[in-house]
């Protein structure tokens, strides 16, 4: 049961990781667009 709980937690954290990575990519894109606008 401990192992399965760990696996579940790992899944959740992985999903969060994925979400964060996507948001970071998106934010970087936005930042670069803005930078180009200013240049």
């Amino acid at each position: 049961s401990t192992t399965s709980a760990l696996v579940d937690e790992l899944k959740r954290v992985n999903a969060e990781n994925k979400k964060l990575t996507e948001m970071l990519t998106l934010m970087c894109d936005n930042y670069n667009v803005l930078r180009k606008q200013l240049m």
């Binding site: 899944k11 990781n17 934010m27």
Partner: protein
């Protein structure tokens, strides 16, 4: 009663004495191995979990940094845009929006740490759209406030109640670009920008005081990036050497402190004239020419 279990390991014949029980022993060893494997996998899982968690933390920090930079850049862009199209009304509206957006931003990191799992790949578009909304909704954080802060000062000028021109003689030249009636005051409010605009960002609002109609309230936004007004230009909204009585409500804490503000323009001109005169008097050629001209004029006058 003998307590000997015949488990003497030093007995060479001991293994032979345990014919079938060996099977049982091997099963428990297997279980033990299985437990060990489980323990190993659990520790591996824990390690992996720690690793992903630390990666998550790093990602969150990076995201926060990028967000901060993005907002700083965004506010800078807005600042530039507002300089290009200086509409006084538009500068008032974002203040309300800024507060609202700041509140939204404060809620932003909570959304990140909510720990919602999204395993379904069919929801990815919706998920991305949601993220975009989240990112777009957190424009203008607190950082931008200090960035955009312009110096604002209020000046109270006594004015004739019959004068409807809303002219404040502060020594600078202004261009009127708008007028509107506000809810809180029956007198219209006039908007001016410095005649050096767009290079000079200073703006001025003038309105008759609602409490005391004998006073005009001039609100200045920004600081002039040039010297005092040019003495050789003049229009209806500027006068040389004027002085205004100011009532500083911003810094006075409601104490209605009266201060006499002398215009620096006259002083500046005097200094320039004095400098010019002193440099000319030091020039021997100039004094000689001046003396010759005066003596020549005097001789002409004496002849006539």
């Amino acid at each position: 009663i003998s307590l000997d279990l015949n488990t003497n390991p030093f007995d060479r014949n001991f293994p032979d004495k345990l014919p079938k029980k060996e099977v049982k022993v091997s099963t428990s060893a297997d279980l033990e191995r299985k437990w060990l494997v489980k323990d190993e996998s659990a520790s591996e899982l824990r390690e992996e979990l720690n690793r992903v968690n630390s990666e998550n933390k790093k990602l969150t920090e990076m995201l926060a940094t990028v967000c901060e930079k993005y907002y700083a850049l965004h506010s800078h862009l807005e600042k530039l845009q507002s300089r290009q199209s200086p509409e006084m009304d538009q500068t008032e509206q974002p203040t309300k929006k800024r507060k609202q957006d700041t509140d939204e931003l404060l809620g932003f990191p909570i959304g990140l740490g909510s720990g919602k799992t999204e395993n379904s790949s069919s929801n990815e578009d919706h998920h991305q759209h949601e993220q975009k909304n989240q990112l777009l909704s957190c424009k203008r954080p607190v950082v931008t406030d200090s960035f955009n802060k312009a110096k604002i000062s209020t000046v109270y000028v006594p004015a004739d109640s019959s004068d409807t021109s809303l002219t404040v003689k502060d020594g600078y030249q202004w261009r009127k670009y708008g007028q509107k009636v506000t809810r809180d005051n029956p007198s219209p409010r006039a908007y001016f920008r410095c005649s050096f605009a767009p290079s000079c960002p200073v703006k001025k609002k003038v309105q008759r005081s609602a409490e005391d109609p004998s006073l005009l309230v001039a609100t200045y936004e920004g600081t002039h990036n040039h010297l005092g007004p040019n003495a050789f230009e003049g229009d209806a909204t500027s006068q040389v050497g004027s002085s205004t009585v100011t009532l500083d409500l911003v810094n006075g804490g409601g104490g209605h402190r009266l201060a006499l503000e002398k215009n620096e323009r006259g002083t500046m001109q005097d200094v320039l004239v004095q400098q010019m005169a002193s440099s000319l008097t030091k020039d021997s050629k100039f004094t000689a020419a001046l003396a010759a001209a005066i003596s020549g004029r005097l001789l002409e006058q004496s002849r006539t």
